[in-house]
Symmetry: C2
Subunit: 251 residues, 2 copies
Amino acid sequence: MRILVTNDDGIDSHGILALVKSMRRLGDVIVVAPDRQQSAVGHALTVSSPLRATPFYRDGAMFGYAINGTPADCVKLAVSTLLDHRPDLVVSGINHGSNTSVNAIYSGTVSAATEGTLMGIPSMAVSVTTFDETHDMSLAADVAYTVASRLHSLNLPQGTLLNVNVPSVRAEDFKGIRVTRQGHSVWEDSYDRRKDPMGREYFWLTGTFVSVRELPDADDLVVAQGYAAVTPLHYELTNFAVQEQLKNVQW
Amino acid sequence: MRILVTNDDGIDSHGILALVKSMRRLGDVIVVAPDRQQSAVGHALTVSSPLRATPFYRDGAMFGYAINGTPADCVKLAVSTLLDHRPDLVVSGINHGSNTSVNAIYSGTVSAATEGTLMGIPSMAVSVTTFDETHDMSLAADVAYTVASRLHSLNLPQGTLLNVNVPSVRAEDFKGIRVTRQGHSVWEDSYDRRKDPMGREYFWLTGTFVSVRELPDADDLVVAQGYAAVTPLHYELTNFAVQEQLKNVQW
């Protein structure tokens, strides 16, 4: 099996190394990942500048290609152009920070898996619910292995990916894997207003994550309970109920 | 009525000026838009650098605030921080280039309207199917006016926006407005491989848009027939059928 691994934290991150090690238990791993941190890039593509693919080494060995672009760029460039063989799986992560609920739409990690499934390749994204750079990734890497080992045989429809979120708990407190839906929790936005040394105003995004706990199988709720959440996401964005309702409007 | 107008082509674009003029027929217009071209940014947010809001003038009059960020940044910053009053509508566009089918997921224009509806404000995106910078925007501006004038009373659920795509036809060839669904057309990606003057390889994204014409009410098909397409999009991304199927998996 050939596995394309990418992420949005950058090719030199802690999380992608843990993921590569666990994916090597499944098959041949090819890494094509951003050359720097790309968090919250959403499904961005680089259209106005050229991309470069630079060999990246770890401990003296070729680790993969670093791309001056987004996670979605990495998957498009790898599958269409860089790789000699089409991968059998696309696995993105392990992201620092959960991609549950509304976070999925801002997530570069998820966008890479979206790009993979749009190209017809079974794809998944893996995130862990902590921003701690020193966090032990072994539980998340094990969960990634378990899900990835079943992914090919699940025969997901083209356009549907698995979004996996792993709690940052000790192995003995981990409760197992559960199938979930995207939760309805949201961000309540705010910005810090500050003045620079020249007296000019600028704004830093802050905000509070507001947990909405109305759905018992919501990804963020289930992760908070100590489970790894596996949510099938797709990009059939039409709200069909509203489409029906709008057919009665006189424009 | 207070209308927040934004876009992804930049505050100095042709399309946003046409949109502002048509929205002024409906109420008070506030413009908060990117200070430069932001195409294909998807739902990106600026999290690692501060934002600035710079007054932007057109013909000697204050036109709006230019933001060094993405369309989604503009809406978040405007609604949460910059504006004294919450807007009644968020309208994004008029974008050069259609945002039908899969393009909606890459679109900064659509992401601004997504951000608006996630904040509970009736929101819409407007695009015209040409990249010609000199294209007469009056038909698209009229369609935007018609849809926006009904948008508030439609009582769309929070999280659902209207994605409006207008054909680049003469007014006499325009067939009217139709309610549509997101089509299934896709990009077949490719990259131009080139060498820079130093002999190093680089890649430009190209690609072919592959029309999938299986759905009679698909947005791209209907636009190609000379109608303006109005598609209700939402971000309930769970594939519920697959969720059911996955519940039988032994992890």
